[in-house]
């Protein structure tokens, strides 16, 4: 078998290592970092404004109609984002559409909800053991309980963290409460925000075996379980809980078919958000809320989209613009000729290291052609017999420059074998 000949195995291995290392080294030497574009809806200007990075220290601040401004002007166009600077500069309170806001109201009424690809449950590893915080701690700060829970096939099982043993009492109480509310074991998704670095605790949203969503909290040490009216056939992929003082929304809910909803405090109503062009596996979704309007912003390396909405989430304006990126820079163009493809092993858009193959289209194919011609020239110069060359041809066709380098690093075969 071809792949088992030592020479071929060695050459293939060298080729693979080069396919990862060479582009990484190339980027390290020649690469340019470009920050993603920041896009907002300005309640002052009634237009989208953005900050765009063109490499090095070249930032552009402008609005969607092409008017440019300096950084400070830019920040004053989005006062709910930069309210602290505004305050410092003495520009607060500010009156917009007849409403007046000072720094404190701005702080308390603005909210940012975000869902990044790497946060989605199936895109990152998680240890399925969670602390259930006391929602009524009776003190200023939240604190961790001395137990954690895990969802087993038929129970919400609590474990004492000091002894690493099951707390049967707590387990029974919470399991019974869940069962009483109609929870069907085993649980699907467990969604919460297990940290004490938040103003309050809203416990966990549990999706049961039938697809129903339950809300579980620990209040004064006792279970509080609500079976929510969220439809069971929604196909829930992820729930991101993010507690805020305003107590308007529990968080975001993402479905398998990439619909995104806000979950309201008011009867667990679902508010649909604009998702046209949104791909949850590649794009971070940002929802900026202020008393004037809501803005959804999402995008990838190529394009950024924004949708401006009223406070009741009715879209009234949209804008999208290409992200400058690095694709057109000389080093990136040259790379597309040099390398037939790039193999990445990184945590791209998730918490797992994944193998990614970026193909370089027709330039990559042309690069393979050049590598092939180089190989033939070298072998002709070495006067190698043609018959012995086909494994090398396979490598160069498969690996372009990487295959060529691997072939050149390979020790020459002696005449006899």
């Amino acid at each position: 078998m071809l792949c088992l000949t030592p020479r071929f195995a060695f050459a293939a291995l060298v080729m693979l290592v080069l396919a990862i290392a060479v582009p990484a080294a190339y980027t390290l030497v020649f690469g340019v970092e470009v920050a993603p574009t920041q896009l907002f809806y300005s309640p002052v200007r009634k237009a989208f404004v953005f900050r765009e990075h063109h490499g090095a220290h070249d930032f552009i601040y402008a609005d969607q109609h092409g008017e440019r401004f300096d950084r400070r002007t830019f920040e004053t166009q989005i006062p709910f984002i930069y309210y602290r600077n505004m305050d410092l500069w003495g520009l607060l309170p500010i009156t917009l559409d007849g409403q007046t806001f000072d720094a404190v109201t701005m702080r308390d009424t603005r909210q940012i909800l975000e869902l990044a690809p790497r946060e989605i449950r199936d895109r990152r590893p998680e240890i399925d053991v969670y602390p259930l915080l006391e929602a009524n701690p009776g003190r200023a700060r939240l604190q961790f309980p001395e137990d954690v829970f895990r969802m087993t096939a038929d129970a919400m099982e609590f474990l004492n963290v000091d002894t690493n043993t099951v707390d049967t009492d707590l387990t029974t109480r919470f399991t019974m409460a869940l069962t009483a509310a109609g929870f069907a074991f085993p649980a699907g998704l467990v969604a919460g925000k297990p940290t004490i670095l938040k103003p309050l605790d809203e416990g966990y949203f549990l999706v049961d075996a039938a697809g129903a969503v339950f809300h579980v909290k620990r209040v004064d040490g006792r279970p509080q379980v609500v079976r929510t009216p969220i439809p069971t056939d929604l196909g829930i992929r992820h729930i991101k809980v993010s507690e805020t003082r305003s107590r308007a929304f529990y968080g975001l809910l993402l479905t398998d078919d990439a619909r995104l909803f806000l979950i309201t405090y008011d009867a667990y109503r679902l508010v649909p958000l604009p998702v046209e062009s949104y791909d949850p596996d590649r794009m971070a979704y940002k929802l900026l809320l202020n008393p004037m309007q809501a803005t959804a912003v999402f995008g990838d390396e190529a394009m950024i989209h924004a949708v401006a909405m009223t406070r009741d989430f009715q879209p009234f304006d949209r804008y999208a613009r290409p992200v400058p990126g690095t694709a057109d820079m000389v080093y990136a163009r040259l790379a597309r000729w040099l390398f037939p493809y790039t193999v990445h092993l990184d945590e791209h858009n998730g918490g797992y290291l994944t193998w990614r193959l970026t193909d370089h289209g027709w330039t990559g194919v042309a690069g393979i052609g050049i590598a092939l011609l180089t190989l033939l020239a070298v072998e002709r110069w070495r006067r190698s017999p043609w018959r012995a060359q086909w494994p090398k041809l396979v490598l160069v066709v498969a690996g372009g420059l990487f295959g060529l380098l691997a072939c050149l690093l390979l020790p020459e075969r002696r005449a006899i074998d």
């Binding site: 792949c3 088992l4 000949t5 030592p6 020479r7 195995a9 060695f10 293939a12 291995l13 060298v14 693979l16 290592v17 990862i20 290392a21 590893p125 998680e126 240890i127 399925d128 053991v129 602390p131 961790f144 309980p145 001395e146 137990d147 954690v148 895990r150 474990l159 963290v161 000091d162 690493n164 297990p194 940290t195 092993l345 990184d346 945590e347 918490g351 797992y352 290291l353 994944t354 193998w355 690093l409 020790p411 002696r414």
Partner: protein, 221 residues
């Protein structure tokens, strides 16, 4: 074949025992260190750090398998390469590839026992203080490190057998590259999806090792 096991056993038993003892001492340190953490900090905070912040209490373990693999490769093949002693075995009535593969099998068994010990000690340590989910996570997190041990062993052999100095450097770079790839993830379970591809690359080392062996037999040309 059993004779080769006999030879390797005589050659390696002392150093293998020392390496195993070193690993055992390290595992004991890991256990005591974790126990100490649980003495000075609240367990619930440690749970939080381990599961949410992504702190790896056993991160010190990550380069131990690679060092073990490299040490075993040196212990096994340095005496063979000194004065070209491997020629003694190469003249034995057995094929060259068979000879090398048996040596590698023996080395990999020796390595496997030590790495299995490390994993068992890791599971026991984590399992003492944390529930099962943490144990599973720790084992999965340590899996690419164990693979790095195999890569370091086979890569070490690849380097040691090669008779030509510049090619030794190439082989060292390939082995170093593979070991580095196995250590890319710094999170728990981070390499879960990368593992099959990594294993495939490390697996390629096995036939690749026969190349320098043949070149050594053929006088390094």
């Amino acid at each position: 074949m059993t004779a080769l096991f006999f030879k390797e056993w005589i050659k390696l038993r002392l150093i293998w025992g020392l390496i195993l003892a070193g690993n055992a001492a390290f595992c004991l340190y890991l256990f005591l260190d974790m126990r100490q953490q649980f003495r000075i900090e609240h367990a619930e905070m440690l749970y939080y750090q381990a599961s949410r912040i992504g702190r790896l209490f056993y991160a010190d373990l990550q380069y131990v398998p690679a060092l073990t693999g490299a040490a075993l490769a040196v212990a096994q093949f340095a005496p063979e390469m000194a004065k070209g002693r491997l020629r003694l075995s190469m003249h034995l009535p057995i094929s060259l590839d068979g000879l090398i593969l048996i040596h590698l099998t023996i080395g990999l068994i020796g390595l496997g026992v030590i790495l299995a010990f490390d994993l068992a000690a890791l599971a026991a340590t984590v399992g003492t203080f944390f529930p099962g989910a943490f144990v599973h996570s720790a084992l999965a997190t340590a899996a690419p490190w164990m693979l790095a041990g195999v890569a370091a062993y086979l890569g070490g052999v690849l380097v040691l057998l090669e008779p030509c100095r510049p090619l030794q450097v190439v082989n060292l770079a390939v082995a170093g590259g593979l070991v580095t790839l196995c250590h890319l993830s710094t999170r728990f379970n981070g390499a879960d999806h990368a593992l099959p591809g990594l294993a495939l690359m490390v697996g390629l080392l096995l036939p690749a090792v026969l190349l320098p062996a043949r070149r050594f037999r053929d006088g390094g040309r």
